[in-house]
């Protein structure tokens, strides 16, 4: 049997070597790797669909942890979104990154390996290892290639994320020692988590929830996100908002499925996320920079997804997993477009942008599509998410769904307002740059997947199954 998951994990390293040797072609190599990862994912998904969850195990620290990689109903959608968003970001890098291409693409490929490793790991220790390494890689992507205020943003990102990672570390160490058979295995945790004494469960739950709230990011621990997203490189912002924020959701899924205490505090958690959703959209409304607005939009949407996880019923959790995918695709599309706008028109400030749709219909229409998908246009992924989240939320918390519902309405309100002010009316502007084939391909890829999965959500929902 071919160790397909290990190959998935190590393939980027082949790309790194190649990109190191022929740095002129670094971007094509990275895109190729991205494509191959999608192919590998499809193969893995095929195995999963035909014969159920599977795992690969390798020797790591004897007696403590094996290097175990798994594919199951929890992580398969996350793997999917990782491969797609990374591929899109590789494609867009061809347009955005003109200098130090090889090192940028190498960093990105390394990041893909760690992100995949984080979702693939069947073992909390390995999960943590990849979780933390990815922070450092994104830190480098941020501060070496990012925008003008990148120093501040990157250090802030690193401090917040490493704090979150460290709390996670303490949490998993506690889990290890208080499980009856000392073990880091996720499957063992899920089946025996209830045997941890209740007060320790609470401690673990609080530590991990704080960690995830930072990572997701959720109010009130979100301060790193607007800076990081708006100062990052285009690819960096896509990946941070699209993929890295899902770490927290994935962690929460494991936490909720393992520790019974999580269920007794689910209302509190749901309230935090509901408030976060509303808060994000309220703050976004008065932002002057579209990038920051999208950052708060992302916070709001992630609040909705976190809310869905805490419902803890089949529909809610399916909604959260599906919503993660939907959010990843849509927000990375929107972020890429706003960076394109910045490159083409030289600004992303609301009051300086005019009449984008006439001057660049491609960007204008794609952005409109992104907005409509965000607010839940049927036949895009956004609709399925909204439907499942509200059904799941109502099942567990009744009228608390009105908060996320209000957040969705507010999101629509300011996005449309923004669109009206900056895209539809006003004088023509100067055009500095032209969108090339790479960026067009990335847009097409994301739009295509948003529609395909929106029309046929069963492709992914069947993989998630009954949980």
């Amino acid at each position: 049997m071919i160790p397909i998951l290990l190959i998935m994990l190590l393939l980027p390293f082949a790309g790194i070597l190649l990109a190191g040797i022929i740095d002129k072609w670094a971007n094509y190599i990275a895109s190729l790797i991205g494509l191959l990862e999608i192919v590998l994912f499809i193969y893995a998904a095929h195995i999963y669909m035909s014969s159920g969850p599977f795992s690969e195990s390798f020797y790591f620290i004897p007696g403590v942890a094996n290097f175990e990689l798994i594919v199951n109903n929890l992580n398969i959608v996350f793997l999917f979104l990782t491969t797609i968003v990374f591929f899109a970001s590789y494609l867009s890098n061809g347009f955005f990154i003109k200098e130090e291409r090889s090192s940028y693409n190498m960093l990105n490929m390394l990041a893909q390996s760690t992100v995949l490793g984080m979702f693939l790991s069947g073992n909390l220790l390995i999960l943590y290892l990849f979780w933390d390494v990815s922070i450092i890689l994104f830190f480098f992507i941020l501060f070496h290639f990012g925008g003008l205020d990148r120093r501040y943003a990157s250090i802030k990102f690193a401090l917040y994320s490493l704090f979150s990672g460290s709390l996670l570390l303490i949490g998993i160490i506690m889990i290890y020692f208080y499980l009856p058979m000392h073990s880091f295995e996720i499957s063992y945790l899920m089946s025996h988590g209830y045997q941890i004494p209740i007060n320790l469960q609470l401690a673990i739950f609080i530590l991990l929830m704080i960690s995830f709230l930072i990572k997701i990011p959720s109010f009130p621990l979100h301060s790193w996100a607007p800076d990081a997203y708006s100062e990052a490189t285009p690819g960096g912002a896509m990946l941070l908002a699209g993929v890295v924020s899902k770490f927290g959701i994935y962690g929460m899924l494991i936490l909720f499925l393992s520790l019974p205490i999580a269920r007794s505090y689910s209302f509190e958690v749901a309230s935090i996320f509901a408030i976060s959703a509303l808060y994000g959209s309220i703050v976004a409304l008065s932002q002057k920079n579209i990038k920051r607005m999208l950052a708060y939009l992302s916070i709001s949407e992630m609040g909705i997804i976190g809310f869905a996880v805490s419902t803890f019923n089949v529909i809610g959790i399916s909604g959260a997993i599906f919503g993660s995918l939907s959010h990843a695709l849509i927000i990375s599309l929107l972020f890429m477009l706003v960076f394109l706008i910045e490159k083409v028109f030289g600004t992303s400030m609301l009051n300086r942008l005019n009449n984008v749709i006439v001057q660049y219909p491609l960007i204008g229409y794609s952005f409109l599509f992104g907005i409509l998908a965000t607010i839940g246009l049927p036949l895009t992924t956004g609709f399925i998410t909204d439907l499942l989240v509200l059904i799941g939320g109502d099942k567990s918390f009744g009228l608390l769904i009105l908060l996320p519902a209000a957040a969705i309405i507010l999101n629509a309100a300011y996005l449309l307002w923004t669109y009206e002010r900056s895209f539809l009316v006003g004088e023509n502007m100067e055009i500095y740059d032209f969108v090339d084939e790479n960026a067009k391909a990335a847009i097409a890829l994301l739009v295509l997947f948003i529609i395909i999965i929106g029309v046929m959500p069963s492709i992914l929902l069947n993989m998630v199954g009954t949980l």
Binding site: S223, S286, L377, L387, I409, G465
Partner: protein
Amino acid sequence: MIPAPFILLPLIIALPLAGLLKNGKSVAYVSVGASFISLAMLPFISQGPLQINWFSVGPFQFSLVTNVSTLNYILLFLVLLLSPFIYIYSIGYFKNRVEYKRYYLEMLSFTTAMALFSIAGNFISLFVAWEFLSITSYLLIGFWYRKKSASRAARKALTIVFIGDIALLASIAIIWNAYGTLTFANLISIPKVASLLLLIAIFTKSAQFPFNEWLPDAMEGPVPVSAYLHSTTMVKAGVFIAILLFPLFARSNVLSYFTIFGITTASIATLNALKETHIKRILAYSTVQELGLMLSAIGIGAIGAALYFFFAQAFYKALLFFSSGIMIEANENENINSIYGLKRNRLIYISTLFGVLALAGFIPFDGFFSSVSISSSFSSNLVAYTIISLISIGTSFFIFRWLFAVSKDTKNKNISLSYITQPKSMVFTTAFLSILLLLASIVFFYFGSLGYMLSLRYEEAVIETILVALGFAISYMVYVKEKIVVSNRLLESLVYNSRLFNILYEWSAKFVYFISDGAGMLDLYINDMFDWLGHATILIGNFARKIENGDISFYALIIVLSFIAMSALVLFA
């Protein structure tokens, strides 16, 4: 027999086809052809429900259900009957404008959404159609998006309608959790919260108070869009759902809200229409008013009256919009005070006159029957009856004012010439609609056979005729003979008071923005708070740096002192 969803196929196939075509005209012909094919398929579609499984979550199956009942059939018929008219009219309307392709693509999706809406059999397919309606109407209202007011109106429309969309989604969630099914046929009752949320959805879509402001603004769209929007689609969706789900609303005791809000809206809209000078906005206010009346009739259980009104209103409203489109084109102006010479084109004039008489409620036009059947159903409630009577006078008053204003004569040769040279597609569709209008009046007598109770009491018929004549008389005296001078201030104060809600609306938008600004500040503070945590740490670090002054004797002293302190602490503790 053709399964119901197949009726959408010509429209759906036309979409990519029209997208691929380069020539604007051929796009138009493809669209017109598609709409005719759909209309031709209508008699052959099979009745009854049809289920298409969409996706499943765990054990739960979500499916798209279509259903063709009498009600669905009526709406579908209206939509498909009027769409060829609209499409043909648009060929002429867009003759001097180049954006055929975008227009027809958006229009085709709009029609598709509306057709899907007409045959929706469960909440999922209903919502899909409902949301597509919102979004395509956004595109159509903002069709001339470079005009600031058009963009603004489109945004306003979608923002308000979207509140209803999410309310609908939330009520779907509640209904699903309560009964595990979303098919209309399987639902016997729905939770009260869900029905209230549905109410919000209906009110936003059908522009009822307090969500009534978007519809008049939506007049920024092209004329055929307005005609379509106001006659059969979009705004009718809310009323249609109210009729379709009437038993569910009745069981959850929310019907009175329909009446209260409906009559309020109708009164506000009538007051607004009295002073308005924009040719299309007057018609828009009249639509809002008619929707209010339909909903209030539903509120007291007069489904038959509401449904006939629903049916009849489509024709004369489309007709009036068509003719106002011609007037706007001829005069290149949208203000009724600057529009002249409708009488120059007899055909249009007579058609328009038919439409005005129908809207005002003159016998024997369909407007008369619908008004009478509604006022008959209110005859037991004196307050409501009075208000409705006043509304009848008002309606007759403002629509004749409209007619008198646009038909005043002019010496300008260009205008009379341009009336005659209007595109044939526009003129003939308008004329043809007036014939349909007369046919619709006859339908009244057969309407009862569809199973919906209709009552036509002679007292009310007589009273109605008197009221309408009264409205006409006042209007004639004021605007033609100029015998009575209506104080402008009085009208203005009425209009101002009715626009108070609009001002409230703007204030609440400002308030939300203010809150958002505040939250933005709060966010900065939260950010700063964490930054200050860092600054404080660095401050301590600076202090630590000061301790280390490089003096080794000081270090030795510290070492000895801390040893003593440590010993003391440990030994005595």
